[in-house]
């Protein structure tokens, strides 16, 4: 299957820099998500990979071949667009057939592939409908079938779920992942929704202002964000002041605890503490006051207004949160089972 290597990509539009020295290596069969807010350059990177934009510098290598000068028609990729982009004058079946016809496959082969695609995306009822007769979710499944019917080397998805309802989004997201694993096609998935990215990707590349901040499996991003941007973008984070105590240890929330960076005594830094790493004790002399207590089922989210650390989010197992109520004076602390903290550097956001 296909490996993807984008190296040193730079792209400017007029005076604004969309991508700055962007490099990405994808293993065969891997699903990589490019995640970030609008304007971060993720769509530009995808379009350069597809061949719709020419980079000012850098190369695009797929399966060892340099594709940088190839137009999109020659790259043999598949793509799913945010607005589905189904040809309105063709039925679902004909849309799927389009790429196969271009590849000059025999009609027997085309029929077989189309039937299989329809089955695999559960479109039997809609196969002969036109796009204007289908719902968003159905259209996107047709778009997906159309993209993979041609056995592409790489599958590209440009925010495919953004235009859909929440419920449809979840189902379709899992379907995309299931199909992708089954076929084993190398996939690049662009999105601004971190839940999507974390749910289905093998690795996620978090982007900001034209730069790739961190490329890592979802868990790694969550537990070991490299900087403040990644820490805030993925999940919820409490940014807490940390003071260097002795080599490798930091003082956070009154506790001396190992951190993931070397420390000098008195050095100031920020620690990324996840909500589930905080415990909340009622205390008359506590530094915090409970702002709200939201029961979320298994977890209760407690928001605390702390004198020293500002707004804090704590996710407590509901059973333990029973005694907490708004306006109560509390002392937040790190849970006992937290064995180290992640330092993310001074907050530049």
């Amino acid at each position: 299957m296909a490996t993807v290597d984008m190296a040193g990509i730079r792209k400017t539009f007029g005076s604004s820099v969309a991508l700055e020295d962007f490099s990405l290596s994808i293993a065969s069969g891997e699903l990589v998500c490019l995640l970030g807010p609008s304007g971060c350059g993720k769509t530009t990177a995808l379009r350069i990979l597809a061949g719709f934009e020419r980079p000012d510098a850098g190369t695009v290598v797929v399966e060892g071949r340099d594709l940088s000068n190839d137009p999109p028609e020659k790259r043999q990729f598949g793509m799913v667009f945010q607005d589905y982009s189904l040809f309105p004058n063709m039925t679902a079946r004909q849309n799927i057939d389009f790429g196969l016809k271009v590849q000059k496959r025999s009609s027997a082969e085309r029929k077989e592939i189309i039937d299989r695609m329809i089955e695999v995306t559960a479109l039997q009822e809609h196969a002969d409908k036109f796009p204007h007769q289908m719902s968003g979710g159905q259209k996107q499944r047709v778009a997906l079938a159309r993209a993979i019917a041609t056995s592409p080397k790489v599958l590209l998805l440009d925010e495919p779920l953004s235009a859909l309802d929440a419920k449809v989004r979840e189902t379709l997201r899992d379907e995309i992942r299931r199909l992708q694993l089954e076929i084993g096609v190398t996939t690049v998935f662009v999105t601004h929704d971190q839940h999507e990215a974390l749910a289905i990707a093998d690795r996620v590349g978090v982007m900001s202002a034209g730069r790739l901040e961190q490329l890592a499996p979802p868990r790694e991003l969550y537990e070991n964000p490299v900087n403040a941007f990644v820490a805030s973008f993925i999940g919820t984070v409490n940014k807490m002041a940390a003071v260097g105590v002795e080599d490798g240890r930091w003082r956070v929330l009154g506790r001396s605890i190992p951190g993931n960076t070397a420390s000098t005594i008195g050095a100031a830094d920020i620690a990324a503490v996840r909500p589930e790493q905080l415990a909340v004790d009622p205390a008359e002399d506590g530094s915090g006051v409970v702002e709200s207590v939201s029961f979320l089922g298994p977890i209760t989210r407690v928001i605390i207004d702390d004198r020293d650390h500002g707004r804090l989010f704590a996710d407590i197992i509901s059973a333990d949160a029973a005694g907490l109520f708004p306006a109560q004076r509390v002392r937040p602390r790190l849970r006992d089972d937290v064995s180290d903290v992640v330092l993310i550097g001074p907050d530049l956001t």
């Binding site: 597809a50 137009p71 598949g78 982009s85 389009f98 271009v102 590849q103 796009p131």
Partner: protein, 286 residues
């Protein structure tokens, strides 16, 4: 609540009735009279007037009018469509698209007397272009490029046909999403393939509708032909001839018959346009 509702109905009627009466009195009623008179020549029901209106010089008139309208619709339609496509694809300069929008709104209304004058000044016998080409040794009249000849008139008609087509086609052309082009490309299709399979089928209903509109527009043009070629064999001029009473007795009803045919032609045209519109609407509700 119900009383208020009824008052609203009354208000609607209060506004609609004068309007409907106006349209009836000044438009529908005279037309019905004409249609009636067309099928009752000399007071008795019959098709003699209708048949006569399509024979002899009148037949020539219809054919000429159809030819003039048809050619100007076809050529104007193609150029107008190309203009729309070109404007859509050129992103720079930024003022190009809005200027052309304004210009086409203006130019499509600029038929009539002034336009005829302008072309006489350009390619008439004393026209400046005629003179320029004469100096180069070419007599434009030999090529049929005069203001009064058939192709000269087609050229004049294009002046308002092209902007009209541009106006009509712009929405359809803008509706061609770039992402369709890109989707086709990523699946390996060349631009030609895309146009053949997607672009042209999508644009065809609007294009046909637009050209029909151009045809209707040209068929009923009067001022331009009156100035350029007052003695020509074209339907509007023949109607004028009949109206001014220059008829052999027994042929007064001819005017009604001709108008009846014209109305039938226009109604058919409009009907076809509506059919085309519905098709486009179906596909565009993505």
């Amino acid at each position: 609540m119900r009383a208020m509702f009824r008052r609203e109905n009354r208000l609607g009627l209060f506004v609609l009735i004068p309007f409907a009466a106006f349209v009836f009195l000044f438009l529908v009623y005279p037309t019905l009279v004409v249609l009636w008179k067309a099928i009752t020549p000399h007071g008795a029901m019959g098709t003699s007037a209708l048949v006569k209106a399509l024979s002899g010089t009148y037949r020539t008139g219809f054919i000429q009018s159809i030819a003039l309208s048809g050619w100007s619709a076809l050529i104007g339609g193609i150029i107008g469509l190309m203009l729309a496509l070109v404007i859509k694809s050129l992103k720079r300069p930024k003022w190009l698209h809005p200027s052309l929008d304004s210009w086409s709104a203006v130019a499509s209304q600029l038929g009539g007397v002034g336009l005829a004058f302008a072309f006489i000044a350009l390619i008439g016998t004393q026209g400046i272009l005629t003179k320029v080409f004469n100096n180069l040794g070419i007599n434009l009249a030999d090529y049929g490029i005069t203001a009064v000849g058939f192709w000269g008139q087609v050229t004049v008609y294009l002046y308002f046909q092209i902007p009209l087509m541009f106006l009509v086609m712009m929405p359809a052309v803008m509706g061609l999403k770039n992402s369709w082009r890109e989707a086709a490309a990523i699946m390996g299709a060349s631009p030609a393939r895309y146009w053949w399979s997607v672009g042209i089928p999508l644009l065809t209903p609007s294009t046909l509708g637009g050209m029909l509109l151009l045809f209707i527009n040209a068929f009923t043009a009067y001022a331009t032909v009156y100035v350029l070629n007052p003695s020509g064999a074209l339907v509007p001029l023949q109607i004028r001839f009949l109206l001014q009473g220059n008829v052999i007795t027994g042929e007064e009803d001819l005017a009604y018959a001709i108008v009846a045919w014209v109305i039938l032609l226009l109604l058919t045209g409009l009907g076809l346009i509506t059919v085309m519109q519905r098709r486009t609407l179906r596909w565009s509700s993505q």
